[in-house]
Symmetry: D2
């Protein structure tokens, strides 16, 4: 495993490493951790890397690693840079024969996403997209219950992702992750909708197995001077006739990371909250509410159980959800390297198709979000 | 106190009586409890009324009561009939000099509401509208905190009212309250939006003190054959630039009565849930979440405390919230009868203006809800 | 209904009145509301009583009321005075032919309690003891589920009642209810154990249907200078071999009224918290946790449903629980007055036997609580 | 890092590995994973170990590893066997110069514990005891707040650890962890009290910084035929005059792993629940309840923050708590190996002294638990 980005001053890179290491399947062997070579080098040292596997540019990394013996060079690269530096290293990695893990949203633009997808299909390499929340066992349990029809036909989807950390213009202060996220040159067309709206959208499609076909939205920058949305909401229409609401806000002051989803069918519904992630609420028209507590053998669906590490009552969290993506990806890659078919349950991680669709979501919601002349905007392919 | 509707087979009438009696300020002295004279009479008996104060029609009631001595006749009437029988008795009551309590929505149509308002202004009589949820002490506490600016300027309002009891077409079964609520001839233009959407809308305007200026909505009947909305949602724009979302659904299967509101300002926000009504969550950007537990002297705002009956840790509920409307109304009526100025804190109950505005909400949201040709619909006055 | 105690400066008297009035079954017709005749008179006025039904002493009240015509005089009296003034008016009421509602603990001493029981049995009159928490529908639901064996044989009972309001010596400040409660001359042998320990003990016996046979306890006054326990705990042994723990503290600073009970059998257990009183948690060895939400027809046991006033999702509270005792008592009294057999479900309120047993609990726990020479103390009959 | 026990069929060994690997500080280099050499070997393979570093006996492991070059041999060993196989490998490891991580309780008997302590002191090696729950950031935050006196002098400690998994005699079924835990020959004198009572006891002493001086207890085996306690409770007396209650049950059917602690001082108290581990409740006499949500910079105490990996709203869990023990231990060991003083904050993990004291707790609680002739038993040194 190599890494692009994720120097010791970054947030999500550390998360990727924790997640990758936990299950003892991935070993960090090289990296280009920063555009600043000194930070890259010192970061590499603190990650126990020899200096000759810490590179000044990602271009250098892909070139030199490709020349190393197969049992020495990295098998895959994790790209944990700001959005505008996703496509470059990802494309180069694929061209160099490396598998890829990439943080969401997959690219800066929809066009880039489509090129990446074409390259993945061309090379047969594996690309995992870290939509973390789909890695939670309770989310997988919810997906399985909905898929087998426990609640009847799905009618309603409410997904919301309120955060409050951008309630003030902290991007001017520096020393935080707000800078590139609120800068359209580095973040892309969308702010809150790109950063967390995509998570909410993906979670809803993942759990329900339903695709959005059109939406009606309003995006807004509440904080004066901010050039990109810090808040938004959308009415959703799904392919099966279900409707929904998606909320993404970074100015819900006092909220931290309160992602929550509710789905209702004809007979009942379910609810999951990221801040209490080991609980799945099942609500029924004709019997008491049930609480699924992650980890209990007899009470969990099979796929969910596979993505659980500890018995019921031993709470898992964000890092384990993240690690599920890495573990399933790593299993898949190992199978590929061994020339074997991956077990279908290993393929349960977001891939390049989710990445393309996520960029389409951004295109669609941004188009709808600022245009008061049309109510419903069809999904932009 | 007299009553129109509320026979022993009805739901909300019983609630009105419990709420009215609790504080020992209101005595039921007469009523016309049903269109079926037998049910009316037997209901009256079970409410300990003499037969001669149980009437066959509300017209008869107002006529005969008006002729009784002042210390014998009712002082006010509670109208707890289906929506299409609100205006008739209310107008007749006002014309007969009786004060009025009326269940929401105030009338069948906006036109009726305006006529009622004119009559209230003409007569100087008191009309209370039972938007129950504004009666909760925690809601009043929230309103006071927002009004004094604890959270800075309000930016976001999320209000939702999911129910699940109309997930199947139970109105065909009879023996429940679904019949008239799903019948446009008795319910009015809106179903779920009229029944519970108005509660959600009112709660949001009550707590924030802000008025909706335009909205974008989708209404829908999910249950086949139902001629009126059983589900809807709206994006809201408020007069101060805040935006919001309103959800009202009666097909969120498994939900009972899960009214909830969240409001966010520049520095923090608050949350209140009707199913856990004695708790008010205060969330802050820069300090821990605080929980206000209704009843504690030092921790509650003054107006909220006035509407609380028991010390902290002794949970109050729906009936006490309802009773707060009755108590404040009764105090106001008593002051009027005594020719005195009511204490300002007694005037804290929904009145005819809320009633008119509620009917305007229904007009606006129904207009917006089915029209895909325009995105934003201005508030219909 | 008459009242002894409960002047406008008192807490629990107001609660009794709210509870009595709510269901329109009880009318306050007379009272002696204070040892101070002026407070008594002004209180009576504020309760809409004529001056001649407000008495200077309870002795006067019982004498004069007894001489009034049957349809004018009170049918029963509510005694809401400090503990040392329970026995006197209760005995006099019974001797005068009046039914009695009395606040807990029933008397000042066990001896008094036994005399009262003898008098109740002699007269055939009805005595209700307001162990409020047994009035909650969810508690009744729990009792019914345990009784029918849903969880198998009961093994464990954990009941706790932490409060924090006596964490400082506020009884010296006056103007609160702490004075008589911390004064052994007015409160009796026990402080926290008498005031709230009895509630906890009663709740556990009510829900489980099991009697304590011996206990091991420690009582303590944490606040310097306080002459009576403000904290205690006991290990319990029940007649069927189950064991339990009872906690009662008034120095759990920051707690308000956090009564909670958990009971476990061979197959599962249940949990109820007074601060979230409409929820009953059912926990199972072999299937998900279930949440019973008070009010739902299909999900509640019959007796519990009878003691519920509103549909699911409309929270009831402390006053409704209290009112259930009054309503069931009033129904029973009305049947007695009419010479009829009361419906068995009306008899579901704490009575004189609970009162005697409560005083035995105080005797036993106080004996055990300060004696380090013996571990287990047998229930003192 | 080497491992004794923890074959692929075991529970806690897997947890140790996940915790050790997460932070990229520990690498598994050898092990003796089972008494069955085949299981040991196949386990080693699945952990990516070469066959020559998988040993048939722990004796062989310590002997052979000691002969390897310093940069090749393990630095420390994790002992994750049943209790009766703790002392042997631990003593041999220390004698061989290896640092030790050991699962709780530290040994089979108090005598063994004292010998181990003497050896640790003699060798200057580091021994960490995995009392997991002290690794949670919220627990560390609680400890810091109590230590700096936020709540005044501590008066009450309630700690409880209800589980339900031994409600039936599943040890007869095999294929689970119940076998050795309910067998006094492998578990030691105590069952539930040794397995989870020690956790509860340790958590309370860790958070409060107070030592138990005497206790009064009842232990019991509820499940017929079980030769060791599956349930117990104790009244506690602490050195500063505080009192407490400790509950440990494995027959609280329907509970999973519901460890919870509450501590009250003169001005307020705090509460932490292992099943919702990122929340710390602060309760105050004179202001609203506050919720500390783990991860927020401004709201956490310093030491707690150091033991947190992700920002607020990204829940950490059991594995991260466990990993904190490993990380702090590993940092300390690295400092020792480098001949440096460990940073004081690294020393925040349970050590050999906690281990001795834990065995004293077992001695004391077992003595008290079955002896009805004395109420209070002094702490057995």
């Amino acid at each position: 495993m190599g890494m692009v980005g994720g120097g010791s001053d970054a947030f999500i890179g550390a998360v990727h490493r924790l997640a990758a290491f936990m299950d003892n399947q991935c070993e960090l062997v090289c990296g280009c951790f920063s555009v600043d070579p000194d930070i890259s080098l010192s970061s590499g040292k603190s990650y126990f890397l020899p200096d000759d596997r810490v590179y000044k540019t990602y271009q250098e990394m892909f070139e030199k690693e490709a020349k190393l013996p197969a049992d020495v060079r990295m098998d895959f690269v994790s790209i944990v840079t700001p959005n505008h530096v996703h496509f470059g290293p990802a494309m180069m990695a694929l061209e160099g024969g490396f598998h890829v893990v990439i943080d969401k949203p997959m690219t800066f633009s929809l066009e880039e996403a489509k090129l990446l997808k074409a390259k993945v299909e061309e090379t047969g390499l594996v690309l995992a997209l870290t939509h973390t929340y789909s890695g939670y066992p309770a989310v997988k349990d919810a997906k399985a219950r909905l898929a087998r029809g426990d609640f009847g036909k799905i009618r309603k989807v409410y997904v919301e992702y309120p955060q409050g950390w951008l309630s003030k213009r902290i991007e001017l202060e520096g020393g935080n992750n707000a800078g590139w996220r609120t800068d359209p040159k580095r973040s892309g067309k969308a702010g809150a909708m790109g950063d967390i709206g995509t998570h909410a959208w993906h979670l809803a499609e993942y759990i329900t197995g339903l695709k959005v076909t059109e939406l009606c939205a309003e995006l807004k920058a509440f904080v004066p001077g901010r050039p990109i949305d810090d808040d938004g909401a959308a009415l959703l229409r799904y392919e099966n006739g279900a409707t929904g609401i998606l909320i993404a806000s970074q100015v819900a002051a006092g909220e931290t990371n309160s992602l929550k989803i509710r789905v209702y069918g004809e007979n009942g519904g379910l609810e999951w909250r990221q801040t209490d992630p080991n609980i799945l609420w099942l609500k029924w028209s004709d019997r008491p509410v049930e609480i699924i507590d992650v980890g209990a053998n007899a009470k969990m669906t099979e796929g969910a159980l596979y993505n659980t590490r500890t018995p019921q009552g031993h709470p898992e969290g964000y890092l384990e959800a993240f690690a599920n993506i890495y573990r399933n990806f790593a299993n898949t890659v190992q199978a590929k390297l061994a020339g074997e078919q991956p077990d279908p349950k290993w393929l349960d991680f977001p891939n390049v198709n989710d990445g393309v669709r996520g960029m389409q979501f951004i295109e669609t919601v941004v188009t709808a979000g600022y245009d008061d002349s049309q109510k419903w905007v069809k999904w932009i392919e």
